[in-house]
């Protein structure tokens, strides 16, 4: 209890720094997720319609997914240096695999008879994508965003190592100085952010699931 109390006092004493760090953390995560989605969703949809491209993308994404977050950040540093931009770049890379994999799975998971019927009735490929594939794949695509969001929020802690800022600053400093209260001021909000993002995306996922395919 005392440790939590000390953490609270530390937080109140360093409120401006905390607010800045929290802001950077959220901005970094949100931007990385947005960039990741902007690349991975179209790429996944494109690959899903082409068996060879899908095979290659799935394999590359699976390799990407096994890379430790810290390794990605460490690899980026010698190339791009330190600070917010390199951190954002590295985190965007981290966001790609789960989003692209789910986009492919979402499109491919649609009953082929449904797409065949749409084609047979004279829908253009664009209309099939807009009216059939997109709404039916959206819940699965959203699940990918949800996974990516959690990964990026926890991965953003490591941005502190390459000068990207964020709540990781409190954690690394806390570890370095054996100052548990300081560490908690970073760790607890990160955890809450991750849980909050998971919850929010879960809610959204249910909202965007078309009524006809929603679990009763």
């Amino acid at each position: 209890m005392t440790t939590l109390g000390e953490a609270w006092s530390y937080l109140l004493a360093h409120l401006p720094q905390f607010t800045t760090a929290l802001g950077v953390h959220v901005a970094l995560s949100a931007a990385a997720l947005a960039i990741g989605a902007a690349i991975a969703v179209p790429a996944g949809i494109y690959a899903a319609h082409r068996p060879r491209a899908a095979f290659a993308t799935i394999n590359v994404a699976n390799i990407g997914r096994t890379l430790p977050s810290l390794a990605v950040l460490a690899l980026v540093m010698p190339l791009l240096g330190t600070g917010f931009a390199p951190s954002l770049f590295a985190l965007s890379l981290l966001a790609l695999p789960p989003i692209v994999l789910n986009a492919i799975a979402g499109i491919r998971g649609i009953d082929p008879e449904v797409v065949d019927a749409a084609r047979g009735m004279g829908m253009t490929p664009g209309a099939i994508l807009r009216h059939i594939e997109w709404p039916l794949a959206l819940p699965v695509i959203f699940a990918g965003l949800r996974t990516a969001a959690i990964q990026v929020i926890s991965g953003a802690v490591l941005a502190a190592f390459i000068g990207g800022g964020g709540l990781g600053d409190f954690i690394t400093a806390g570890i370095a100085m054996m100052a548990v209260p300081q560490l908690l001021v970073g760790a607890i909000p990160v955890t809450l952010l991750a849980i909050g993002a998971d919850f929010a995306f879960g809610m959204l996922q249910r909202r965007i699931t078309p009524a006809g395919v929603r679990e009763a």
Binding site: E113, V114, G120, M121, G122, M123, H131, G212, V213
Partner: protein, 320 residues
């Protein structure tokens, strides 16, 4: 209405062509059944008509128009398409499913609503009750009714149906077959109907094309195929009971003879088929039954020898 000339399709990697120099001329208002064992090319042939598959060579004309001279998307909007698994869009209501092609054709909203309700009523689905339902709330038979309504939406003169009743239980299948035949009686569509079920082919087909290895072995009316199978393959395909199948195509009304059976003779409705009549005579161990028409009038009979005579009389061999 649909002329298929020297159609050939070979899939890459396949040893022999799926469809091999196939020609068929299908008349307006006909239900042309394509039937044969798996891999005989029946579905491939059907799918080339609306260019879901492009032929390697040969020509298909609908109402004189070469299908390859029309944009494939435009073509498909003018040809009804029904498949076995129905392929209803699960995220759309029944009304939106049925409205698919009219929307693609940019009909105005009021016309679409009217048409959807009219079609749902046509396939015996109360529009008020089902309009806003989703496909997963329907039974298999109801889904296929909606599938048929959706294919009819823009009133296409030609419909392609790939085993439309294949996934249904026998009772639902028979009911939907009967309803569909009644519906077609009013609508006069030209239908290409793929099935692997010979009984369905005999029931639904105006003419039946029996396919084997991508070629037409015999193309004729059901009764002619049963009476004069072109070769041993067709004979085996239609089954050993082809005499009984022929009787099933003949009605008591057409083949009854004048007379009154002795008292105690069984009765059979004029609308029944001769197969049922024969079955009744065998079951009752009688030679003769009284025929009763819809109004209850009698005075005609069906006998074992009149049934045999009916088999001998029909049909003349058709040359083609």
């Amino acid at each position: 209405m649909i002329e298929i000339e020297h159609l050939t399709k070979r899939f890459s990697g396949a040893a022999s062509p799926a469809v091999d120099d196939l020609s068929l001329a299908i008349g307006t208002g006909e239900i042309c059944v394509l039937i044969g064992p798996s891999g005989c090319g029946k579905t491939t042939t059907m799918r080339m008509i609306n260019r879901m598959i492009e032929p390697d060579s040969g020509r298909i004309r609908i109402a004189g128009r070469d299908v390859t001279h029309v944009d494939a998307v435009e073509l498909r909007r003018s040809v009804g398409y029904v498949i076995q698994q129905v392929g209803l869009f699960p995220h759309m209501t029944i009304a939106d499913n049925v409205a698919t092609v009219p929307r693609l054709l940019n009909w105005d909203a009021a016309r679409i609503t009217r048409r959807v309700d009219e079609l749902l009523a046509r396939v015996d689905m109360d529009p008020a009750r089902y309009r806003s339902r989703f496909p997963r709330e329907l039974s298999g038979g109801q889904k296929q009714r909606v599938g048929v309504a959706r294919a009819l939406a823009a009133d296409p003169p030609v419909m392609l149906m790939d085993e439309p009743f294949g996934a249904l239980d026998p009772i639902t299948r028979a009911a939907l077959q009967d309803e569909f035949l009644r519906l077609l009686d009013e609508l006069k569509k030209t239908i290409v109907f793929v099935t692997h079920d010979i009984d369905e082919a005999l029931k639904m087909g105006t003419r039946i094309a029996i396919l084997r290895a991508g070629r037409v072995v015999q193309f004729d009316r059901p009764e002619s195929i049963l009476a004069h199978p072109a070769d041993a393959f067709v004979e085996a395909f239609v089954g050993r009971d082809r005499a009984l199948k022929r009787l099933a195509l003949l009605t008591v009304a057409e083949h009854a003879v004048a007379g009154i059976a002795p008292s105690g003779a069984p009765q059979i409705a004029a609308s029944a088929d001769l197969r049922d009549a024969l079955s009744l005579l065998l079951a009752e161990n009688r030679d003769v039954a009284n025929v009763v028409d819809a109004s209850g009038a009698m005075g005609r009979i069906v006998t074992l020898s009149s049934i045999r005579a009916a088999l001998d009389a029909t049909p003349p061999a058709t040359l083609n």
